[in-house]
């Protein structure tokens, strides 16, 4: 027996290839959407990996520092360092902002870290060029995705920083590339106002009779000094000593320091379950619509192709073709269309994924799931056409 479906596809290959191409682009978009989601999850994991921390100590009752704002006094880390099982603890600040580059600006996550030896939590783990920050001020390590090169100058608020090192794939959970600067500078950047605001703020303080008392010299200066310093950080990153489980170390900090502590597992759950949950649903919605549209296209095309063959189908039935053979012919055509579409889609997605601004991670598992979905959709979509074909009366071939 010959393959009726195969012969029909060969005969009308133009129709199949062009439809397959259109369907393929749609499937390519679908695979890319899945890749965008995977990329977001991967960005979140990379963020946690790159922080070099085992525990995140944050403001009590918050989901900080990535999913919610969190603020701690910058001397908290001293007490934590003394807790059992803590190997290292370091302050860190995070601030997502527009960073000036030349005439324009780039969106970046500015991370304040304690300058010091490598391996300190919060330090970028791996540099593709240059060195780590060693001075306490005005040095920066930037991710290559920001577009900065070694020796470039970054302007953050009022200060200028020289890029001394470059990283790769250091991004926030939102996909923004990171810029590392010394902690003190970062604290200032989070807090510091422009000159006019400082002048106004000082005037306000001086105008407050409770703070500007003629009988208490030095009080006003002290108040102003305390107002213009920022003693806060967003989190303390903790590395634990070998032999301790994260929970062993986290529990005493929660109890005695009255702070919220997250382990790596909990942090990942927060990032993936809460921070990118809405985006994931958004993408899921897209996937559903794309699947429906693809199914509609396949169904429509296969149905039209089948209607164009009603006469031939009547003849095939009259001369003794089984219903099963005719159904298989239509089914195979639908699946064939899906196969063409899938191949085109996979190639298209692989081709355009690197051009996306955020990381697009095309997982083979997703491709496999996509393939199964495409085949399933094609099978479903051919039901309509098969029903139409099976309803054809062989008597129609004889005519009136």
């Amino acid at each position: 027996m010959i393959s009726l479906a195969g012969r029909d596809i060969l005969h009308a290959w133009g129709k199949f290839v062009f439809t397959g191409l259109g369907l393929g682009l749609l499937i390519g978009v679908t695979l890319t959407m899945a890749g965008v989601y995977r990329g977001m999850v991967d960005d979140a994991k990379v963020l946690l990996d790159n922080s070099g921390a085992d525990l995140w100590v944050v403001q009590q009752g918050t989901l900080g520092p990535y999913a919610e704002s969190s603020s701690l006094y910058d001397d908290t880390y001293r007490g934590i360092r003394a807790m059992p099982g803590v190997a290292r603890a370091a302050n860190v600040t995070y601030l997502t902002m527009q960073v000036r580059r030349g005439d324009g600006d780039v969106r970046a996550m500015v991370v304040g870290i304690v300058p010091g030896g490598p391996g300190e939590p919060g330090q970028p783990g791996y540099l593709v060029a240059g060195r780590q920050i060693t001075r306490g001020h005005y040095e920066a390590v930037a991710d290559v995705a920001t577009g900065f090169g070694l020796g470039d100058t970054i302007r953050i608020r009022r200060n200028q920083y020289t890029v001394v090192g470059l990283t790769r794939r250091m991004v926030s959970s939102g996909g923004d590339p990171m810029v590392f600067i010394p902690l003190k500078d970062a604290q200032e950047a989070q807090f510091l106002k422009d000159n006019d605001a400082i002048v106004r703020s000082r005037a306000r303080t001086a105008g407050n009779p409770a703070l500007n008392r003629p009988g208490v010299p030095g009080l006003l200066d002290a108040v102003i000094a305390s107002q213009s310093a920022n003693p806060y950080v967003n989190a303390v990153l903790v590395q634990i000593e070998p032999g301790y489980t994260p929970e062993d170390v986290a529990e005493p900090i929660r109890r005695w320091k009255r702070l919220t502590v997250y382990t790596r597992v909990q942090m990942e759950a927060i990032l993936i379950g809460k921070l990118i949950a809405t985006s994931a649903k958004q993408i899921g919605m897209f996937l559903v619509i794309l699947a429906i549209v693809s199914a509609a296209i396949v169904a429509f095309i296969i149905y039209t192709l089948t209607l164009g063959k009603i006469r031939e189908i009547a003849v095939l039935k009259l001369i003794g073709t089984r219903n099963r053979t005719i159904a298989a012919m239509i089914l195979q055509q639908a699946v064939g269309l899906g196969l063409i579409g899938f191949v085109v889609g996979k190639i298209a997605a692989t081709f355009w994924a690197p051009f996306f601004p955020k990381y697009v991670l095309l997982e083979p598992g997703d491709a496999l799931r996509g393939f199964v979905a495409v085949v399933a959709i094609c099978v479903l979509a051919s039901v309509l056409a098969i029903r139409a074909a099976l309803k054809v009366d062989p008597a129609e071939a004889i005519g009136g």
């Binding site: 009259l318 053979t325 009366d393």
Partner: protein, 239 residues
């Protein structure tokens, strides 16, 4: 009238009623007909007389209401179908030729003909071999690899006849097979049908309106108002 000894096709008192109650139409009111193997008979009648209905009953695509049909020594219909697999009956025992050739557009000439034996489970090689023999006999072997759309109308009709013959059916039903052809080609088709009928011992029924070919039949059944009347035709010999 040709003598039938349990051969060919025989129809007795065949009736067909479409619908029920007030709207019922009695399309066939008692048809008697017999065609011997190797014989070609004409079936003519005015529009609405029941020609297509009779072909559909013979072709086992609609069920008669009453009567009896036998094919060779097998009773096919007698107050209900006597054969469970009508699809196989159509495939193996009946060849169809239509007004338009209705070839499968995505199969080449050989496979259009070979499809039937393939559907019956014959190996591709054997089916194609049979197809080639018939195409040879019908003088279209040189177009064996062409697609149907590349053939002339007459060539297409000959391929359709080859398809009807390929399973060596005892009966061929031809529904106005010459309608779209000019008179020379129409006569050629009838000549081929007669020749094939003799060669393969096939009973052929040709439904026609076509004045050009009516004189060629030796026997003609007139159908009028659902009843048949047999008469001798001119039986003009074709060369």
């Amino acid at each position: 009238m040709a003598e039938l000894q349990g051969q060919g096709i025989r129809i007795e008192g065949l009736k067909k009623r479409y619908g029920e109650g007030d709207t019922a139409v009695d399309a066939l009111k008692g048809v008697d007909m017999q065609v011997a193997p190797g014989e070609v008979v004409g079936l003519i009648g005015p529009s609405g007389s029941g020609k297509s209905t009779l072909l559909k009953c013979l072709g086992a695509v609609i069920e008669p209401t009453a009567g009896r049909m036998t094919l060779g020594s097998d009773v096919i219909y007698e107050e209900g179908w006597k054969i469970s697999d009508l699809r196989a009956l159509r495939r193996d025992k009946i060849g169809f030729v239509f007004q338009a050739p209705y070839l499968i557009p995505f199969l080449d000439v050989t496979d259009n003909v070979a499809l039937l034996p393939m559907l019956a489970g014959r190996p591709n090689g054997e089916a194609r071999q049979r197809a080639r023999e018939l195409l040879e006999a019908l003088d279209v072997a040189h177009r064996a690899r062409a697609m149907p759309s590349q053939l002339s109308g007459g060539e297409q009709q000959r391929v359709a006849i080859a398809r009807a013959l390929v399973n060596r059916p005892p009966v061929i039903l031809a529904d106005e097979p010459t309608a779209p052809l000019d008179s020379e080609r129409a006569l050629t088709v009838i000549r081929i049908l007669e020749q094939m009928a003799r060669q393969y011992e096939t009973a052929v029924i040709v439904v026609t309106h076509d004045e050009k070919i009516i004189p060629t039949f030796r026997r003609i059944y007139h159908i009028r108002d659902g009843r048949t009347h047999e008469e001798a035709g001119e039986g003009r010999v074709l060369q």
